[in-house]
C-alpha cells in the first residue's frame, strides 16, 4: 500500500512540471520585476545599468502617474458606492421572487463570462454619439447628445458604467447564493413576529450576508487594480490621458516607449498598492465582522 503511494520518483515526476511552471510564471517574474525596476533597461539591450531607486522617484513625482492611480481609485469607489448597493438590492429581489428566479440568475451572470475586449467594442457602439443607444435613449428625455468616449468629463464615467454592466451580475450570483443558504426558519420567525419585508431584509438578511459582501468588496478592489483591457479597448487611456489607469500607464512606458526599467517600477508599485489595500482592508473591516453561525 504505502509502497505504491510512497514512490519518490513518481512524486517528483508528478509535482515538478506544474510546479516549475508556477515558479517560472509567478515567483520568478516578481523577482525580475523588482530587479529590473532598479535599472534603466530599455527592454532590448543586453546590458542594463543599475540606477537605484530613480525610477520610483520619477514615478512618484509624475503627475500623470498619480492621475492614473486616481482613476484606479475611481474604479474602487464606483464599485463600493454604486455597484455594491445595487448588487445587494437585486440579490434580495431575486431571492424573494418565486417565478423566473433561474432566468434572472442566468441572464445577469452572462456578461461576466464574455470577453472584456468584445464588450468594450460593443459599448463603443452604444456610446456612439450619433446613433448609439445611449444618446438615443437619453434623447427621449430631451437630453442633448453626449460625446461619451471623446469628452474628458464623460469618458471615465462611460468606462465605469461598462465595467459595472459586465461585473454586477457576477457578484449578484455570489450574494444570491449566500442569501439562499440562510435557513428559512430565521426569516419565517421574524415574519411571525410581525416584521415587514423591508425590516427583515435590513435586520435579518443583511447582517447575515455581511461576510460575502466583504468578499465582494475585496474582489472588486482586486479587479479595480487589475483594470486595463477595458480602458485599452474603449479609449486607449484618452482623451488626453483622462482615463489612464496604472496598468495602461505602465504598458505605455514599458512596451510602447521602451522604458522597460521604469515600467517594471510601475508594476512593482501596482503590486505593492494592491497588497497594501488588501491587507488594510482585511485588518480594518474583515476582522470586525464576526463569524456567523446560524
Amino acid at each position: 500500500m504505502n509502497k505504491a503511494l510512497r514512490n519518490p520518483l513518481v512524486y517528483i515526476l508528478f509535482v515538478l512540471p506544474a510546479f516549475i511552471l508556477f515558479i517560472a510564471f509567478f515567483i520568478y517574474p516578481i523577482l525580475t520585476a523588482v530587479n529590473n525596476s532598479l535599472t534603466s533597461w530599455n527592454g532590448i539591450s543586453k546590458t542594463m545599468s543599475y540606477i537605484g531607486m530613480d525610477n520610483y522617484a520619477t514615478a512618484v513625482q509624475d503627475k500623470i502617474f498619480w492621475k492614473s492611480a486616481r482613476n484606479n481609485v475611481y474604479f474602487i469607489l464606483f464599485s463600493c458606492l454604486v455597484q455594491v448597493p445595487a448588487i445587494v438590492f437585486f440579490s434580495l429581489l431575486i431571492a424573494n421572487v418565486r417565478k423566473l428566479k433561474n432566468l434572472y440568475k442566468t441572464a445577469v451572470f452572462l456578461p461576466s463570462i464574455m470577453s472584456t475586449a468584445v464588450i468594450g467594442i460593443l459599448w463603443g457602439f452604444i456610446y456612439n454619439p450619433d446613433f448609439g443607444l445611449m444618446n438615443e435613449f437619453l434623447g427621449l428625455f430631451g437630453i442633448q447628445p453626449i460625446y461619451w468616449l471623446s469628452d474628458r468629463n464623460w469618458a471615465m464615467i462611460a468606462i465605469l458604467i461598462t465595467n459595472a454592466w459586465q461585473w454586477t451580475g457576477f457578484y449578484i450570483v455570489m450574494v444570491l447564493a449566500a442569501i439562499l443558504s440562510i435557513p428559512r426558519e430565521l426569516d419565517e420567525a421574524a415574519a411571525i413576529d410581525g416584521a415587514s419585508g423591508i425590516q427583515r431584509a435590513f435586520k435579518i438578511t443583511l447582517p447575515l450576508i455581511m461576510p460575502i459582501i466583504s468578499v465582494v468588496v475585496m474582489l472588486s478592489i482586486a479587479g479595480a487594480m487589475k483594470a486595463a483591457d477595458i480602458v485599452l479597448v474603449m479609449t486607449k487611456g484618452g482623451p488626453a490621458g483622462s482615463t489612464d489607469v496604472m496598468a495602461t500607464y505602465m504598458i505605455r512606458y514599458a512596451i510602447t516607449s521602451f522604458k522597460h526599467g521604469f515600467g517594471n517600477a510601475i508594476a512593482v508599485l501596482i503590486f505593492v498598492f494592491t497588497m497594501v489595500i488588501t491587507v488594510l482592508y482585511q485588518f480594518l473591516i474583515v476582522r470586525r465582522t464576526e463569524r456567523i453561525e446560524y
Binding site: P29, A33, G43, Y104, S115
Partner: protein
C-alpha cells in the same frame, strides 16, 4: 394589492434584464442590417430585410475565421495541458504520502491566486523575448498554461481530497502502481471537476486580451479579441460588419453557457471565493 406587491420586484428585475440583454439584441439586429444608414435611422427596431452578407464578409474579408480558429486551438490546448499538469500535481499532493512537502507546495500555489497578474506582464514579456518565442503561439500557450495552474490545482485538489481512501486501497491491492492509480482510477472519477475547470480555463483563454495584444504582432496569428479590436480600429465605420464579428466572438460562449450554465456559475464563483 397582493398581486401588485408581487409584481414590483419583477418590474425592477425585468428592467435590469433589459439592460443586460438589449445590447446583445442590438448587435444581433445590426448584424443583419444592410449598412450604417439603416442602423442609424432605426437603431432600436428589427431590420427591414435580413441580409447575411455581413457575416460572410466578416468571416472571410476581416479574417475572423483565422482569429476564430487561433483562439479555439490556443484556448483548448492550453486548457488541456494545464489540467493535465495540475491534475498530476493535485494527485501527488493529496493522495501520495508526502504530507509535509505537499503542504508547502500547496500553500505556495495558493499565493499565486493573490498575485495581480498584470503586474507580471512585463517580466513575462521579457522571458518570452529571451526564449525567442515572441510572435509565435508559444508566447501565449506557456503563460496561459501557467496562469491557470493555481486555480485548477485548488479545485482539483479539493475534489481529490474528498475521495475515500478505500478506492486506492482496493486498486493497490489489485497491483496498480501509483501512476496506474492516477490514470485508471483517479482521473475517471475526477471528470466532473475536470469539466468545470476546463470550461473556466477555456473561457479565460478565449477572452484573454492583454498578453495576446502585446505578445503577437503577425496578423495571421492573432486571437479573436485582438483581431476584433484591430478590425474595429481599421473599419471604424462599418458597424453592420463589426456587429457580425461580435456575434462570431460571443456565440460560442453563449452556446457553452446555455448548455453548461450550472457548472460555469459554480466554477467561476468557487474559484474567485477561494482565491
Amino acid at each position: 394589492m397582493r398581486t401588485f406587491k408581487k409584481t414590483i420586484p419583477h418590474i425592477f428585475l425585468m428592467g435590469y434584464l433589459l439592460v443586460i440583454l438589449y445590447p446583445f439584441l442590438f448587435v444581433l439586429f445590426s448584424s443583419v442590417k444592410t449598412n450604417n444608414q439603416e442602423i442609424a435611422s432605426n437603431p432600436f427596431g428589427l431590420p427591414v430585410s435580413v441580409t447575411f452578407n455581413n457575416y460572410v464578409n466578416a468571416w472571410v474579408n476581416a479574417k475572423i475565421n483565422t482569429y476564430f480558429f487561433n483562439s479555439l486551438y490556443i484556448g483548448v490546448l492550453a486548457a488541456c495541458i494545464s489540467i493535465l499538469l495540475a491534475a498530476m500535481l493535485s494527485f501527488a499532493i493529496t493522495r501520495m504520502r508526502y504530507n509535509r512537502i505537499s503542504k508547502i507546495v500547496f500553500q505556495l500555489i495558493l499565493i499565486g491566486m493573490l498575485i495581480p497578474n498584470n503586474a507580471l506582464l512585463l517580466p513575462i514579456y521579457g522571458m518570452m523575448s529571451k526564449l525567442g518565442v515572441l510572435d509565435t503561439h508559444m508566447a501565449l500557450l506557456l503563460p496561459y498554461v501557467a496562469n491557470a495552474i493555481p486555480f485548477t490545482v485548488i479545485i482539483l485538489a479539493a475534489f481529490m481530497r474528498s475521495l475515500p481512501g478505500e478506492i486506492e486501497e482496493a486498486a493497490v491491492m489489485d497491483g496498480l502502481s501509483s501512476a496506474g492509480l492516477f490514470g485508471k482510477i483517479i482521473i475517471p472519477i475526477t471528470i466532473p471537476a475536470i469539466v468545470t475547470v476546463f470550461i473556466i480555463n477555456f473561457l479565460g483563454n478565449w477572452n484573454e486580451f492583454l498578453l495576446a495584444n502585446y505578445f503577437l504582432s503577425s496578423d495571421t496569428l492573432k486571437t479573436l479579441p485582438v483581431g476584433m479590436v484591430g478590425f474595429r480600429d481599421a473599419y471604424n465605420t462599418n458597424y453592420a460588419q463589426m456587429s457580425a464579428g461580435i456575434v462570431f466572438s460571443v456565440l460560442p460562449v453563449i452556446v457553452i453557457y446555455a448548455v453548461l450554465q450550472k457548472k460555469i456559475i459554480e466554477g467561476v464563483t468557487a474559484g474567485s471565493v477561494k482565491g
